[in-house]
Symmetry: C2
DNA sequence: ACAACATTTCAATAATTGTTGAATAATCAT
DNA sequence: ATGATTATTCAACAATTATTGAAATGTTGT
């Protein structure tokens, strides 16, 4: 996972609405939900949900599959695992640091 | 960590510039860097850096301390650990799900 | 073929975020 | 005190993102 791939993921999680969508899809993994059910459960207009889903699709954090006249969305859990690994490595404990001889913060 | 606290953290990581700032500060943890050094290393105007640092401060992901005429910024690594725990719990494997009898994706 | 349905795309607008230069505040050295 | 230094805040503007209703696309059932 490179930073230029990670930033869009954070961007796609940076709205409360999208974070809610993603958490909902994780709760319903691995089956996912169709758009109408998401809209109903989160009580947001279909057209606005569609906008947010597009952002999530673009970052890769959710995936989509047409199913008759429904569109089914699922969380991409493996990508989330990569993001967690990225954060652990780059933004937390795993990164190399200046050799000052001091102890690390974790 | 609650969702309403997590969203601002993702928002503060959602710009490439801020993600760079945070990663830099992690590399220089636990000492951190003064604003001028950040600006120099990342080659962004001081006034713009100041704007991004304010966002990071607001989410709690960085902390600030005045040091003479310098302002020193440090990464809040413990908060990042909480975020990683939040993602693991809410957005990945730890969350409760509908009982469908199917196996979990992780 | 037709009507009902699920969802998206489009266009318009509102709201927020990002960027910059100039002005300001605080500190340090002389 | 004065001038140089560090960094912020302010104001203006540019750019992006969010929200909504109406129209369009494709699907299903009759």
């Amino acid at each position: 996972m490179k930073t230029e791939n990670a930033a869009p993921v954070f961007e796609s999680l940076s709205s409360g609405a999208r974070l809610d969508v993603f958490r909902l899809l994780v709760r319903y993994a691995p089956d996912g939900l169709v758009a109408g059910d998401i809209a109903k459960k989160l009580d947001i207009p279909a057209t606005n949900l569609s906008f947010h889903l597009k952002t999530l699709l673009h970052s890769g954090l959710v995936e989509m599959e047409k199913e008759g006249r429904f569109w089914r969305y699922r969380a991409n859990v493996p990508l989330m695992l990569e993001i967690i690994a990225y954060l652990t490595d780059q933004c937390c404990c795993g990164s190399s640091r200046k050799k000052t001889g001091k102890t690390r913060s974790c």
